[in-house]
Subunit: 254 residues, 4 copies
């Protein structure tokens, strides 16, 4: 079992805002979105969380150890510095997907993402302090083997990107369906997944599946901890072990 | 014919840097990458270009009207403010894909993306001033119909994301293969494509293809201009026309 | 008595870097400095500290409650995202000036601010946990009376600025000499001072002194707490009381 | 004669916003202000201008070569990304101070800095294209001699800061009164002044004045060009010459 706490982050009424009174310059929207993501990365990251940009207007964070007060402060800090506001919905579950489903429903119950009067919702509950354990979060850091040699240095930049994208699309679907786990592209050839408690075989199967379907070779390092940040760092160290001893799946769990 | 000028932007030797001497904290890498992208968006955007984050370590820009001096200045400005440097490769072609292929080859010829001594390459040539026309760049701004009502407000946030991702994956592949065009996810439910000179039928076919394969409904606004920014803004206005009169494909060309 | 913990933040070997191999573009230096300050504001601010930009290459933070590990993390995060590194020296004292003097000496003992091989120093000690009290930090938030009406809306922008600057220059000197306290300009017509334990008379005298010497009228709100952030927020509330009841000095202490 | 074009940049109704409905957290205000300044530095700097933070809520830019359209775009870009808006007032004059006085009056005539309904004013006129010359802008880059050895490495950080502050306060007043020129602290021990056409004697006198009154030793490099950026870069090169041959005043003019 894992006990993942996720936060769904949604920009309030963002679609209408982007075209009111006229469509806004795309360059400014891109700047706004990516800086907002960078800020949230720091705001949650400095409290041992991980944030994923996913759609940018809806972002997903792993927030074990981060209480409602800290969430409120993030919300306030964004409202103080951006022309848009955020709604936050916090939930936990035995699997990351279950947690996010709860978070999604909670927010939907508060009103539409594009309702003018639904602003700065803050709902849900963090994992109860006495139920937290050192194994609550499992992070898997996937990486394409030899991406530089096989793709970046050899074929066109867009075709490289298509390969990586396909690898990601396949992995995200597979992990969601087979394991109620959430995988996110994080740049380069890297994918980070927040997983339910998967064992080595499950990871080998996932890698084999992606290889078969889209012919992209992955390796993965897996870490586990009380919160996202140390779990993710353990996963990175495990991935370095993959690099050094050639294994496809390495666990660095306590 | 279009006459797209693209710039391939590559962070120098980034993979090794991320793990030297130890794996760096993911939160900092995410912040670095997204802020670098935001800055490039502004640096090129203020000169009428468009930048797409794609892989973040390899970004792709449409840079008609932006000369080599301005490219050098962007390179210098990043080196002055970041712990990493950029290589830039500029190329033009009758199709965006052809241009990017040339840009990719040029950069590959200068050395590996992970060679320690290959830094701050600046190669290629902008479109000759006397060959530039008011139709050089065609931008298509795609958007999912009723994403809020059909997905965001109804199903889980990750499942929504899977739908949008699949729509994007299918469209990017299709436009690349059928039309040598480059499509990029830009957040929310939006995809912006830099296209070779496509007509209305071609866009209807692309939308039909995505609907058939992954059951995602798109609409698209198309603009054309001498540079990316006004072409993109025309596309946005065309998309608003889609919204108002219910058409799937609207051109706003000069 | 107060028990202020201060951190001296110094960019390592920054002067030489700004002109190597050639003088760097001022616009990039300004961007670098102000963003670094913004990031430090968030990094310390999210842990209840206050940072002041002062010289930008040497910044001063009030860091009660922030331990050496958190300092190390700030240092690492900056090194991961900037082309420069930071040295940090932490000290405490019965007065803010005494604390900062200790911090300065500690850092000087580690080598010159412009020594190539003195990088990422981290020295000093936070206030011992068992000696911390709810009165450790006194923050005074000063503000010019009717600056908009008397200056901004009436005289030239530079002459307004000279008045405010003079008010600041006089106040900083006075508080340093008379009370071992540290005052910083924070934008607009606002000055925030970290003070040794001053009483109402001391603040009235300070305000009278500034009025006499440079004819600038100030009011001040004073707060006190275990850390800088709540002390500063109490000071702001006290300043609002000044605005509403016309007093020059208001305390909002526990 | 110089022909300086200045732009007064004022955050609209900022004072009231900072305390509505409650005083906002200082850390967020500091972040907002310094990032806004960083962005303006890039937005104007990429068009060969210089921006000075001065009060942060009122900033001053040297904008020769930057037309009203570009100003409007800066205004729009900020409105798209910040919770506050800007008013901009552009003016030119034979001296920088005269230009800024005109800009100030223009903006005051449009309403109070704290009027709710005075938003996004854009007034004034750039230098007429046919009146622009290669000598329009004179930039003087001042720097304290041996600041590291004499202050930073030797005395307390705040006392160092007081010395530098006093040097700045004295120089700004002197240049304003004696020469209608505008001097700004830009961090470290550096002051950048936009000057009316001063000769070598005038700079020697300014340096002598500051030495006498506050015992701070300055040197200065002076540059001149059609716009701020190359004038400023020439000044920096001249300052390097000071460093190498020990002179106090060096001109690098065309
Ligand atoms: N987000 C993130 N991206 C990373 C990290 N490490 C590497 N990358 C990205 O991955 C890209 C490719 O680097 P590598 O994976 O080291 O290169 P490779 O050629 O695939 O080599 P191997 O993975 O060692 O087989 C880099 O350009 C980065 O964008 C990381 O820790 N986090
Ligand atoms: N990058 C970018 N994203 C946009 C833009 N306009 C909307 N979006 C994104 O699209 C998301 C969905 O908004 P809409 O497309 O307006 O909503 P919808 O429910 O699909 O409605 P219709 O598209 O009108 O059918 C928003 O949250 C934004 O993230 C744009 O101009 N640029
Ligand atoms: N850093 C900071 N600056 C502030 C704050 N409140 C106001 N300011 C600045 O102060 C400037 C002037 O605003 P006010 O002090 O409200 O205006 P005023 O005309 O002097 O009015 P009174 O102070 O009420 O007499 C604003 O433009 C801001 O730059 C604050 O809490 N923090
Ligand atoms: N804004 C800005 N600041 C600079 C520049 N060059 C140096 N500085 C600042 O000045 C500080 C002191 O550096 P220097 O002036 O090189 O050091 P110094 O000890 O005074 O030595 P000399 O000036 O050579 O006598 C640095 O820490 C920077 O903050 C510059 O080009 N622009
Ligand atoms: Ca890899
Ligand atoms: Ca849509
Ligand atoms: Ca005031
Ligand atoms: Ca100096």
């Amino acid at each position: 079992m894992t006990n993942t706490q996720v936060t769904l982050i949604q920009i309030d009424n963002y679609g209408p805002w982007t075209v009111t009174p006229e469509p806004r310059r795309e360059v400014d929207l891109q700047t706004l979105q990516s800086r907002l993501y960078a800020d949230l990365s720091q705001l949650f990251g400095n409290r041992d969380g991980y944030v994923f940009f996913s759609r940018f207007d809806n972002m997903i964070a792993v927030t074990n150890g981060i209480g409602m007060d800290a969430h409120a402060l993030v919300q306030e800090s964004v409202a103080n510095r951006y022309p848009v506001t955020l709604s936050l919905s916090v939930a936990t579950g035995g699997t990351p997907a279950a947690a996010l489903d709860t978070a999604s429903t909670q927010l939907q119950d508060a009103g539409s993402a594009q309702a003018k009067d639904r602003r700065e919702i803050l709902r849900g509950e963090p994992v109860a302090e006495d139920r937290r354990t050192a194994e609550d979060v499992q992070v898997a850091h996937f990486d394409v083997n030899d991406a530089t040699e096989k793709y970046t240095d050899r074929i066109g930049a867009f075709d490289t990107f298509i390969h990586i994208e396909q690898g990601y699309a396949e992995l995200m679907r597979y992990l969601r369906e087979a394991h109620d786990s959430l995988a996110f592209f994080v740049g380069g050839d890297n994918i980070i997944a927040v997983c339910s408690s998967l064992d080595e075989t499950a990871y080998h199967d996932a890698i084999a599946h992606v290889r078969e379907v889209v012919d992209v070779d992955l390796k993965v390092g897996v870490g586990r901890a009380r919160t996202a940040q140390p779990a993710g760092m353990a996963a990175k160290h495990a991935l370095e072990v993959c690099r050094h001893d050639g294994r496809d799946v390495v666990f660095d769990e306590p």
